[in-house]
C-alpha cells in the first residue's frame, strides 16, 4: 500500500544516532507494568503465554510416560486424571485461546489499521492483569492438589463427587474469560473506529478480518461459559442447583451451556491462526492472496456457523437423536468455509515464487496438518461413526492436529514472521528451520498413531489400556519428546537473537502491510504521521521496498 504524508509532523526530527522505539523509550519495571502501549502489553502477554505453554506441556509429560506401558503404575488413576485435567485447563484457557490474539493481535492490530493504539489502552493492560489473576487461581488449584474433572467439568461429578479444587480452577477459567472478553471488545471497537484514512474494509489485511471474526465469537460465547461456571460453583457450594437431578435438573443442561461456548472457542483458536497463515503465504509466494473476499467472508461464516454445531460433542450423551442429526448436518456445513481457505492458500501458491523461510515452513505445516485434522473432523461429525469414535484417542488426535498442528504452528510462524518487527532483530534462519522440521516430525510421530489407536478403540482419559495398543503409545511418547525439543529450540535462538541477532530493517521480508512501513522496532506511537491508504493490500506484483 502507498503511504502518503497527510499531516505535517509536529515533532522535531529524532537524532540519527539512537532511534527511539517502544522498547527503549523508557526503562524500568514500572514502565512495563503500568504501560498502556499495545506493543509492550503484547510482549508482556508473550512472556506469560510462553510460561503457560511450558507449564501445560510439563503437565502432559507424566501422562505420556505413564502411557508407555499398558499397565503402568507410574501414576495412580487419580493423579493421572489430575495431570490431563491440568494439561487441558492450562492449554485451552491460558495458552491457546489467548495466544495469537493477545500476542500478535495486540501487537499488530493497531499497526495494521494505521492507528496509534487500540481503542481502550488501559482496558488492554487490565486484560493482562485479569489474565494473570486467572492464571494465579488456576495455578493455586493445581498446587493445592489439582483437579480431576477434565477441562470440561461435567456435572454431576464436578458438582457433587469430585473432592478436588474445582472452584478455584473454575474461578481461574471464569477470570481468564473476562480477560478474553476485554481483548475481543477492544479489537472490535478499534477495527470499527480507528482505521486510517482510506482504509476501507476491503483494503484491510486479512489478519484483521480474522481477528474481527474471532472477537465476535469471544463476545457472544464467553459470557455463556462464564455464567455456566458460576452456576456450577453455586451448585457445588450449596449442594443444590440447576444441574442437580434430585431437583429434576439435567446434567445435559450443563453440557449444552458449556459447549455453546467451548465449540466456538475452537474457532477463537483457529481463526487467528488462519489469519496469520494468510499473511505469510502471499509474502513468501510473492503473489497476491487468491480470493480476498472469499477469505474475508469465510471468516465471518465460520464465526456464525461455529455457534450452530455444539451438539456434536453430545451425540452419545442422551441428547435428542433428532437434534443430533441437525447438529451433524450443521457440522458438515461448518467445514466448508475452512476448506475454502485451504483452496485459496493453495491457489495463492500456484505459480507463485515460493521460498522456504521459517515462517513459510510453519505455514506449510499448518496447511497440511490443519487439513488432515479438519478432514478427520468429518468422521466425528457423522453421527454413526461418532458413536464408535467418541471418547477415544481419535478425538484427541483430531483436535491436536488442529490445535497443535494448526494453531501452534501458525503461532510459531507468526512469531518468526513478525519477530524482526517486534524486536528489531533477525533470528537464526538455520535454527529456525531445524526447529520447524523437528516440530513437524515430532508432531506427526506423536499424533498420527493416536488416530489409529483411537479407531481401534483405545479410550481417552484412561490411565491404563489394552496391551495391543502399546506400540502406538510408545511411538506417541517418542514423538512427544522430539516435539518437546522442537519447541524448546526457539526459546533459545529467539531469546539469543535479542543479543546476537543482526539488526532488522523495517521490512526484511519485503512484505506489504502498514506494519512494515515503520522502523523495527516501531516507535511508541507506531507512525510518526498517520498513513493514508489508497490501494488494495497484498500488492506483491510490484516491487516492495525493503525500507530503511
Amino acid at each position: 500500500m502507498s503511504t502518503v504524508i497527510a499531516e505535517p509532523s509536529s515533532r522535531p526530527a529524532e537524532p540519527a544516532s539512537k532511534p527511539v522505539n517502544y522498547l527503549n523509550v523508557q526503562f524500568g519495571v514500572r514502565s512495563w507494568l503500568l504501560t498502556t502501549d499495545h506493543k509492550r502489553i503484547a510482549i508482556l502477554y508473550l512472556i506469560s503465554i510462553t510460561v503457560m505453554f511450558f507449564l501445560g506441556s510439563l503437565a502432559i509429560v507424566p501422562v505420556r510416560l505413564q502411557l508407555l506401558k499398558p499397565d503402568n503404575d507410574l501414576l495412580d488413576a487419580d493423579t493421572y486424571n489430575k495431570m490431563f485435567t491440568m494439561h487441558g485447563v492450562v492449554m485451552v484457557f491460558f495458552f491457546i485461546i489467548p495466544g495469537i490474539p493477545a500476542v500478535l493481535g495486540n501487537f499488530l492490530l493497531p499497526m495494521m489499521l494505521g492507528a496509534k493504539d487500540l481503542a481502550f489502552p488501559k482496558l488492554n493492560l487490565l486484560s493482562w492483569y485479569v489474565y494473570l489473576l486467572g492464571g494465579a487461581f488456576s495455578l493455586y488449584a493445581m498446587i493445592a492438589g489439582g483437579v480431576d474433572t477434565g477441562w470440561t467439568f461435567y456435572t454431576p461429578y464436578s458438582t457433587r463427587s469430585s473432592h478436588t479444587n474445582v472452584i478455584p480452577v473454575g474461578l481461574g477459567a471464569f477470570t481468564a474469560g473476562f480477560s478474553s472478553i476485554l481483548t475481543g471488545l477492544n479489537f472490535l471497537v478499534t477495527t470499527h473506529k480507528m482505521r486510517a484514512p482510506g482504509l476501507t474494509w476491503f483494503r484491510l489485511p486479512l489478519f484483521v478480518w480474522a481477528m474481527y471474526a474471532t472477537s465476535i465469537i469471544i463476545l457472544l460465547g464467553t459470557p455463556v461459559v462464564a455464567v455456566t461456571i458460576l452456576m456450577l460453583a453455586i451448585e457445588r457450594i450449596f449442594q443444590v442447583g440447576v444441574f442437580d437431578p434430585a431437583l429434576g435438573g439435567d446434567p445435559l443442561l450443563f453440557q449444552h451451556l458449556f459447549w455453546f461456548y467451548s465449540h466456538p472457542a475452537v474457532y477463537i483458536m483457529i481463526l487467528p491462526a488462519m489469519g496469520v497463515v494468510t499473511e505469510i503465504v502471499p509474502c513468501f509466494s510473492r503473489k497476491n492472496i487468491y480470493g480476498y473476499k472469499f477469505i474475508a467472508f469465510s471468516s465471518l461464516a465460520i464465526a456464525l456457523l461455529g455457534f450452530l454445531v455444539w451438539g456434536h460433542h453430545m451425540f452419545v450423551s442422551g441428547q435428542s437423536v433428532y437434534l443430533g442429526m441437525i447438529f451433524s448436518i450443521l457440522s458438515f456445513l461448518v467445514a466448508v468455509p475452512s476448506a475454502i481457505k485451504v483452496f485459496n492458500w493453495t491457489a495463492t501458491l500456484y505459480k507463485g515464487s515460493v521460498s522456504f523461510e521459517t515462517p513459510m515452513l510453519f505455514a506449510f505445516g499448518f496447511i497440511g496438518l490443519f487439513t488432515i485434522g479438519g478432514l478427520t473432523g468429518m468422521f466425528l461429525a457423522t453421527l454413526g461413526t461418532d458413536v464408535h469414535l467418541h471418547d477415544t484417542y481419535f478425538v484427541i488426535a483430531h483436535f491436536h492436529f488442529i490445535m497443535v498442528g494448526g494453531v501452534v504452528m501458525a503461532y510459531m510462524g507468526g512469531l518468526h514472521f513478525w519477530w524482526p518487527k517486534m524486536t528489531g532483530r533477525m533470528y537464526s534462519e538455520f535454527w529456525g528451520r531445524i526447529a520447524a522440521m523437528l516440530i513437524f516430525i515430532g508432531f506427526i510421530l506423536t499424533f498420527l498413531p493416536q488416530f489409529v489407536v483411537g479407531h481401534l478403540g483405545m479410550p481417552r482419559r484412561y490411565f491404563q489400556y489394552a496391551p495391543e495398543f502399546q506400540v502406538h503409545n510408545v511411538m506417541s511418547t517418542a514423538g512427544a519428546s522430539i516435539l518437546g525439543v522442537g519447541y524448546f529450540l526457539p526459546l533459545i535462538y529467539l531469546i539469543g537473537s535479542l543479543a546476537y541477532g543482526p539488526k532488522a530493517s523495517s521490512n526484511p521480508w519485503k512484505a506489504t502491510g502498514l506494519e512494515w512501513q515503520t522502523p523495527s522496532p516501531p516507535p511508541t506511537e507506531n507512525f510518526p504521521v498517520t498513513p493514508v491508504v489508497t490501494r488494495e493490500p497484498y500488492r506483491y506484483s510490484e516491487e516492495v521496498p525493503v525500507g530503511y
Partner: protein, 220 residues
C-alpha cells in the same frame, strides 16, 4: 482532572471519534451482559417447560407488590438517567447532578425493597436449604424439588441482577460526584451517556424478570 478543555486522548484524532468509540465500547459490553443473562434465561426456560405446574404455583408465592413496585422504581430511575444525559448535553450542571443522584437513590431503593422481599421469602419458607417446607407443596399437589428448582433460579437471576445494579449504582454515584465538580460539558459528556446505557440495560433485564418470575402462573 482538567475541567477547562475536553480531555482528548493521544490516540484519537477528534473528541467526536473518542465519544463514538466509548459509546460503541459500551454497546459491545452490553452484548456480553445479554449473553451472560442468556444462560440464566436458558436454565429458566428449560425447567419451566419441564415443570409448568411447579413454576406456575411457586411463582404465585412470590410477592407481586414488591416486584411491581420495584419495576416502577427502576423505570423511574431510567427516566431520571435519560433526563440526566439530556441535561449533560445541554450543559445544565445542577440538573445533571440531581438526575444522577436520583437515579442512584432509586437504585438503592430497589435494593432495599428487594432486601425486604428476600426477608419475606425467608419468612414464607421460600428459601431452599434455609427455610423450606416440603409438606406445604405436597398439599398443593406439586413436587417440592421442582419448586426448589424454580426458587434457585429465582434467587440466581435476581441475585446476579442485583449485583449488576450495585455496580451500576457505584458507577452512577461516581458520575454524580464528577458532575457536581463541573467535570462535564456539552462537548464532553459521553461518560454520562455510557453509564446511562449500562443502567438502562440493567432495567431491561428486570423488565423481563418481572413476568417470568412473578407472573408464570395466573394470579387470581
Amino acid at each position: 482532572m482538567d475541567t477547562k478543555s475536553p480531555p482528548l486522548a493521544h490516540h484519537f484524532a477528534t473528541l467526536k471519534q473518542q465519544h463514538e468509540t466509548a459509546t460503541l465500547g459500551m454497546w459491545m459490553f452490553l452484548v456480553t451482559e445479554l449473553m451472560l443473562f442468556g444462560g440464566l434465561f436458558l436454565a429458566y426456560t428449560v425447567y419451566r417447560v419441564r415443570n409448568p405446574a411447579e413454576f406456575a404455583i411457586a411463582s404465585k408465592h412470590l410477592n407481586i407488590w414488591f416486584g411491581g413496585i420495584n419495576t416502577v422504581v427502576l423505570l423511574t430511575s431510567s427516566l431520571t438517567m435519560a433526563l440526566g444525559v439530556y441535561w449533560a448535553q445541554t450543559g445544565k450542571r445542577n440538573l445533571l447532578t440531581v438526575g444522577l443522584v436520583l437515579t442512584a437513590l432509586l437504585g438503592v431503593t430497589f435494593l432495599v425493597i428487594k432486601g425486604f422481599e428476600y426477608y419475606g421469602d425467608y419468612v414464607e419458607n421460600l428459601m431452599p436449604g434455609l427455610a423450606f417446607d416440603d409438606a406445604e407443596w405436597h398439599e398443593l399437589g406439586v413436587r417440592p424439588e421442582r419448586v426448589k428448582m424454580f426458587l434457585i433460579i429465582y434467587y440466581m437471576m435476581t441475585g446476579i441482577h442485583a449485583l449488576h445494579l450495585i455496580i451500576g449504582i457505584a458507577i452512577i454515584g461516581l458520575l454524580a460526584f464528577w458532575a457536581h465538580r463541573g467535570h462535564y460539558t456539552p462537548a464532553y459528556y459521553y461518560p454520562i451517556e455510557v453509564g446511562g446505557l449500562y443502567w438502562h440495560f440493567v432495567d431491561v433485564i428486570w423488565v423481563f424478570l418481572l413476568p417470568l418470575l412473578y407472573l408464570a402462573g395466573v394470579r387470581h
